[in-house]
Point group: C2
Chain length 253, copies 2
DNA sequence: TCAATAGTGTCTATCAGACATTATGCT
DNA sequence: AGCATAATGTCTGATAGACACTATTGA
């Protein structure tokens, strides 16, 4: 049995670096021009930075940077996320490694790709400062069409596929929402990430279906009265929040 | 914005190697002693090799090896799998990276972990040759208790968590089954990987539930008669096979 | 006949999905 | 009143889950 692990590593050429790339997703929302009280237009965007140096100078790329030997890949990603957006404690998740030959003209680079989900509110203050510094939020559909540095188009495509799956099978939607939200906000967030999501009786299912009602809970005020919001409509809508509960999905049951 | 990606990589210390580790799962089945025609005892096992050299000489470890610059990490894993088990075209999937400091006394090693699901039949011929060469199949529960090399206990634990989730949400069960199988075989495989899986009306659900009946199809012979097997019972059981269909799971519908 | 597995009948509460209808409250 | 959003009523057929029951056939 020929097992390279039994040999010393020094016989081999070693990688020239272990960078991380982070696909930072956010959902922006803006009021519709026509009316004040109506559901906002939401858009899924990804944060890109403009490269200053070779390679791919002046091209747009994903934020990221090289890992050092004193940190794990995950710690590196968290650090880069903090440096790029100034936020911490945000949902960040590893999803794939990119290592094809020639993906980086600087040498043999094994890149570790993460995605992060950031609430628009966290980025808003940061945004003004970044406008001057070659940082922008781009609608995902546009980003996929741009000529990005390295294999970053591919990485964004893969990340998008991941968060679409996760949006439907986990409660990551909460990353894009305030703590308390209305059903139509939740529905819009899901729709924004997964465009072909259609669920006619959405409210009913969540609220009156035995097996699913554990996901959300009604928000009540100090007196036990249920709390509503009329941000988007005249009639106020019930506010909900996510619980800790994550349903077990199975194709066999 | 301090972005390391804009600097040249050569300013930094580089990793000493990019190994892959592969958690090769298989399900062994053996006849119950008491009776010939009865459901076999199935066990989830993982393939371990005995290390010959420093570090962790004579300790058991996951198979794997160093990637070279001319192959991707995924290609490396496939190659190692082929070298260890002699099989190709098997389900192999990347699931995490391990990079904590000091995980490998040889230096800064960023290890990429895969799991592979191999049908017992593929390994059986190989097994005799390997017995002499420090290769063995160990029940997963035992492997987790053994003092394995590196952080391989952790890697196996993570891999197990992954395949448990995948067993219930995808059709990877087919990797452990022959092309045509009975319901009780399928049920046993699921049970073996996910011990607390209980589904009383299993057969009925798969066969008569609109939304799920696309997963499996009844096997028919050349004359269109449905085909059965009486390997495990006197009364012959209907044979099924997986279709290409994978149901979409969602917590919201 | 028994043992071991395979498969069906039947019942109830719940759910999915469609569609119509009503509620709220600002302009 | 008109409007946009929120929420409920009502119907049909499908499903989940439980449990009892019948079927098959080698030893």
């Amino acid at each position: 049995m020929n097992n390279a692990m039994n040999d010393t590593a020094t016989e081999y050429r070693t990688p020239d670096g272990a960078p991380t790339d982070i696909v930072i997703f956010t959902i922006t929302s803006r009021e519709r021009l026509s009316r004040k009280k109506s559901l906002p237009i939401r858009e899924l965007k990804v944060l890109l930075i403009e490269r200053g140096k070779w390679p791919f100078a002046n091209q747009w790329a994903l934020p990221g940077g090289f890992a050092t030997e004193t940190e794990t890949i995950h710690e590196c990603a968290k650090r880069e996320l903090r440096e790029e957006t100034g936020v911490e404690g945000i949902h960040i998740e590893y999803f794939n490694v990119y290592s094809s030959m020639g993906r980086d003209p600087r040498g043999w680079m094994i890149s570790h790709a993460f995605f992060a989900l950031v609430n628009e509110a966290y980025l808003s203050n940061r945004k003004a400062a970044d406008d001057a510094a070659g940082v922008k939020l781009v609608p995902v559909s546009e980003a996929l069409e741009m000529p990005l540095a390295f294999d970053h188009n591919r990485i964004i495509r893969d990340a998008l596929e991941h968060i679409r799956l996760k949006m439907l099978t986990t409660t990551i939607a909460k990353q894009f929402l305030p703590k308390e939200f209305t059903m139509s906000e939740l529905y819009q967030v899901i729709e924004t990430v997964v465009p072909d999501f259609v669920e006619k009786n959405f409210i009913r299912k969540i609220t009156s279906t035995q097996s699913r009602k554990g996901i959300l809970e009604v928000v009540k005020d100090a007196y036990g009265n249920s709390k509503g919001s009329n941000r988007y409509s005249q009639r106020s809508a019930q506010l909900y929040r996510f619980t800790e509960y994550q349903p077990q999905l199975s194709i066999y049951s």
